[in-house]
């Protein structure tokens, strides 16, 4: 048997006092898809950065095809055949696909500082062919769909290796932003990649990891805590290894779901809300302590409705009544003053101020009375919330951008729930891209808020989440409400298939 394509032997990586990777040994054979799972902070990203040539191990060895190698820099790792497709897309939208594919390693497509277009496009077409992508090399990258762009990234990862090297493609959370049908396309492409090389597949979604991979490694606290072949593993197994305990008990904290009082004055009452070309006749009530899940596919108009309620987008007709008071001023600032909070889906873009400290982020919306923000006061408040929400690290003077996704989201939420007069919380994909532990913490927080009598409008990441968290579920399709499941008890909730029927 030939030497495995990649072998990590007892690799250790420390950052100061913390050990990010502790004696990790992983083997990836030729023509194999290896899954890698673990919570945020388990060491996955450190491992990926090491493979990408961004970190050097402090101890242990990395072997490629049996030879010890030093992955000194991204360019070096790429030449050796390791291509990492990062979670955030790294294509330049304003360039053509071919230029993006060969950026930085154009080879003979450049002569005397000028591009030879035909060669460039031929080389790009070749790279695209290896992942069976039908994208034209001459098209502008921003015109591609998200899924197509991801394929281009995979193609780039494959294309940058030195000839003769089998590719090892590392996919970091590739499915977190893909639609169901695109996931199927990705699966085909991963299988095609397996024919020529190997793939390391990192995902939060255990079902997908099992579906894509031949073998799965589980990381926890920087150590490999388990290795299973996909045939012999179940999601429950993996979950247990990953979290270190059983999963089944009340993931959505349903035991704490209290029925909302049908006679109470609704926190939010939306009547016949319409916007031309987007949605029409949308009506619903949210009572104190009630979670209302709004589900629908892209284009159903649910995002627009939620943003209209927050005043971030205009609407043409209909009324929005908060606590019996009709809302007049339609701006985000007015919405905040009347007690509406909005946690956007694009956390990095709209949900946080990177570069500012955690404390500053938490105190952003409600800095306290008067025009003066006392840093000392801010620290005290931020510290309290960091503890209540278990934001790690506890250091509220840390830069927000350095926190992991789950902790960023907690800090972003803390900023809103700080307010005593919070009435309505609009959550747009609040758990997108978070690991299971962080999700559980957030679900607990949402239940806490319900007990305070706050209403929640939830645009869930998955149907399960919408059903698990919500008292009522409203289904939208093409801008219309197609189904309502109102104020259901915990055991009377709709089944996913019932919602799907109305969504499609």
């Amino acid at each position: 048997m030939t030497a495995p394509l990649l072998e990590l032997r007892n690799v250790t990586k420390r950052f100061g006092a913390t050990t990010a990777l502790d004696d990790v040994s992983i083997t990836v054979h030729q023509h194999e898809v290896v899954g890698l799972i673990g919570e945020n902070g388990a060491g996955k990203s450190t491992l990926l950065k090491m493979l990408a040539g961004l970190h050097r191990p402090d101890g242990g060895q990395v072997l490629l095809s049996g030879d010890p190698v030093d992955l000194g820099s991204p360019a070096r790792a790429a030449r050796l055949g390791i291509g990492v497709v990062h979670q955030e897309q790294s294509l330049l939208p304003n360039l053509r696909v071919a230029e993006n594919l060969l950026l930085g390693h154009e080879g003979d497509a450049l002569r005397a500082g000028f591009f030879r277009r035909k060669r460039l496009e031929a080389a790009a077409a070749e790279a695209l062919a290896t992942v069976e992508s039908k994208v034209s090399p001459a098209s502008l990258t921003e015109d591609l769909t998200f899924a197509e762009r991801q394929m281009v990234e995979v193609a780039r990862a494959v294309a940058s290796r030195r000839p003769g090297r089998p590719p090892l493609v590392v996919l970091d959370e590739p499915t977190s932003v893909l639609e169901a049908e695109d996931v199927a396309v990705l699966k085909r492409q991963v299988m095609a990649l397996r024919e020529v090389g190997s793939v390391i597949f990192v995902s939060h979604r255990l079902d997908e990891v099992l579906d894509f991979s031949d073998r799965v490694y589980v990381l926890r606290d920087g150590k490999v805590v388990g290795e299973r072949t996909s045939q012999d593993a179940t999601e429950a197994d993996l979950f247990r290894m990953m979290i270190g305990r059983d999963s089944s008990a009340g993931f959505y904290d349903e035991g704490r779901q209290r029925p909302a009082d049908p006679d109470a004055v609704p926190v939010l009452s939306v009547k016949d809300l319409s916007r031309r070309g987007q949605y029409s006749g949308v009506s619903f009530d949210i009572r104190p302590g009630e979670v209302l899940g709004l589900v629908g596919v892209i284009g159903s108009g649910r995002e627009q409705v939620s943003r209209a309620i927050f005043g971030a987008e205009p609407h043409d007709e209909g009324s929005i009544v908060l606590d019996g008071q009709p809302l007049r001023l339609r701006t985000p600032a007015a919405a905040v003053r009347s007690g509406i909070a909005y946690v956007p889906a694009e956390r990095r873009v709209e949900g946080m101020v990177g570069g500012a400290t955690v404390a500053e982020n938490i105190a952003l919306v409600h800095p306290g009375r008067g025009p003066v923000v006392l840093p000392a006061r801010r620290r005290v408040v931020a510290q309290e919330w960091a503890e209540r929400l278990d934001i790690r690290p506890r250091d509220t003077a840390a830069d927000m951008a350095r926190l992991s996704g789950g902790n960023q989201q907690k800090a972003a939420l803390a900023r809103w729930v700080l307010a005593d007069d919070l009435r309505l919380l609009i959550l747009d994909h609040p758990t997108r891209g978070l690991d299971i532990g962080a999700k559980e913490d957030l679900y607990k927080l949402f239940r806490d808020l319900c007990e305070r009598g706050i209403g929640i409008l939830l645009l869930a990441d998955t149907l399960d989440e919408a059903i698990g968290m919500s008292h009522s579920v409203i289904v939208m399709k093409d801008g219309q409400v197609t189904a309502r499941f109102e104020n259901t008890a915990v055991d009377g909730k709709p089944q996913p298939i019932q919602l799907l029927e109305k969504m499609m």
Binding site: S90, G113, F114, R117, E235, V297, I298, H429, R432, D464
Partner: protein, 340 residues
């Protein structure tokens, strides 16, 4: 419900990249300014006698020449996502350097063509200094070039001394009204620079990397592009073109003048923006800028011919720019969008 909560029945992900508004925007960025130019020209042709004549067309092209040379450099810098405010200072410094090195009434220098080349070289050095301070010491290009603007003016004032230096080199003086192949010399320069900038932006590594850096600097760095080196090169080119503009303007005047570039910064930067090159970088290009320069020159020329008050002309130019910027931003209006 299933006992394994991480199981997804369906994903409801929202794609943040809907392509339609982007297409609209791109169309508006590329076709909008051209349409505006045509509308403007037709309007003046109908309303103002004397606008639609061959002589006036020639005058417009000649007026546009020096701004075009300057604006091409500015375009490259803006495509990077930076800005070069030093245009007027560099023009003045280079113009005076040129006069004092060529045959003049102040000293015995008579370097001829070498004076022309050295003066442009001075502009290139200004550009390199801009680029180095911006990239190595990490000062925003806005602040660096604001500084070098006044360094250039100061240097020009020192060179100017007490009496106005006059250009006496007959070759260059003949250029002022001269023609090459029937085309005024200054137009030849403008055409060469415009075509050169177009080719560089479209086909060269330098040009494409400039777009890449303007698109996303961090991504470009990770892809292995030596971002700083390319930035310095682009600033150097822009400085050299400012120098060329200063020298051409000086030849036309026949004397060295500190205020030779006065008003050119407003004209070039607004032409770049009007043409549809985004200040955030990565989008637009030389052809956009060509249209932008023509719009401003046609507007000025048309208003002059129609006998409008010069102050009204200035206000009209400002108004056109604001309208153009509103129009290019129209499809991406969103109340949560941040405007800086």
């Amino acid at each position: 419900m299933s006992a394994t909560p991480v199981h997804d029945v369906a994903t409801l992900e929202q794609q943040s990249t809907v392509s339609r508004p982007k297409n609209n925007r791109r169309l508006l960025l590329s076709a909008g300014p051209a349409v505006a130019l045509v509308v403007l020209a037709v309007a003046f042709a109908v309303l103002t006698p004397g606008f639609a004549t061959v002589n006036n067309a020639r005058a417009i092209v000649e007026q546009a020449s020096i701004p075009l040379v300057l604006a091409m450099g500015s375009t490259l810098v803006v495509l990077l996502g930076s800005v070069d405010l030093s245009v007027e200072g560099v023009m003045a410094a280079c113009g005076l350097t040129f006069v004092l090195l060529a045959s003049n009434n102040r000293n015995d220098n008579d370097l001829g063509w070498l004076a022309f080349v050295i003066a442009i070289g001075v502009g290139a050095v200004f550009g390199v200094v801009n680029g180095l301070i911006h990239t190595r010491i990490r000062v925003p290009s806005f602040m660096v070039t604001l500084g070098t603007w006044f360094i250039g003016l100061g240097m020009a004032t020192v060179l100017f001394g007490t009496t106005t230096p006059q250009l006496q080199d007959q070759t260059f003086r003949a250029w002022a009204g001269g023609r090459w192949l029937g085309v005024p010399v200054v137009i030849v320069f403008a055409a060469l620079v415009t075509v050169g900038a177009f080719v560089v932006c479209r086909y060269s590594k330098l040009g494409r990397y400039t777009y890449a850096i303007g698109g996303d600097e961090a991504v470009s760095r990770v892809a292995g592009i030596p971002v700083n080196r390319f930035k310095v090169i682009v600033f150097c080119l822009a400085g050299a073109l400012s120098g060329l503009g200063g020298v051409l303007a000086t030849i036309r005047l026949g004397v060295g003048d500190v205020s030779v570039g006065s008003g050119q910064l407003f004209l070039t930067l607004s032409a770049v923006v009007l043409g549809g090159t985004l200040l955030s970088g990565g989008r637009g290009g030389p052809l956009h800028t060509l249209v932008g320069v023509l719009i401003l020159v046609v507007l000025g020329n048309g208003l002059l011919l129609s006998g409008a008050n010069p102050y009204v002309q200035q206000a009209a130019q400002g108004l056109v720019i604001v309208i153009a910027v509103i129009a290019t931003g129209w499809p991406v209006r969103d109340r949560l969008r941040v405007v800086k």
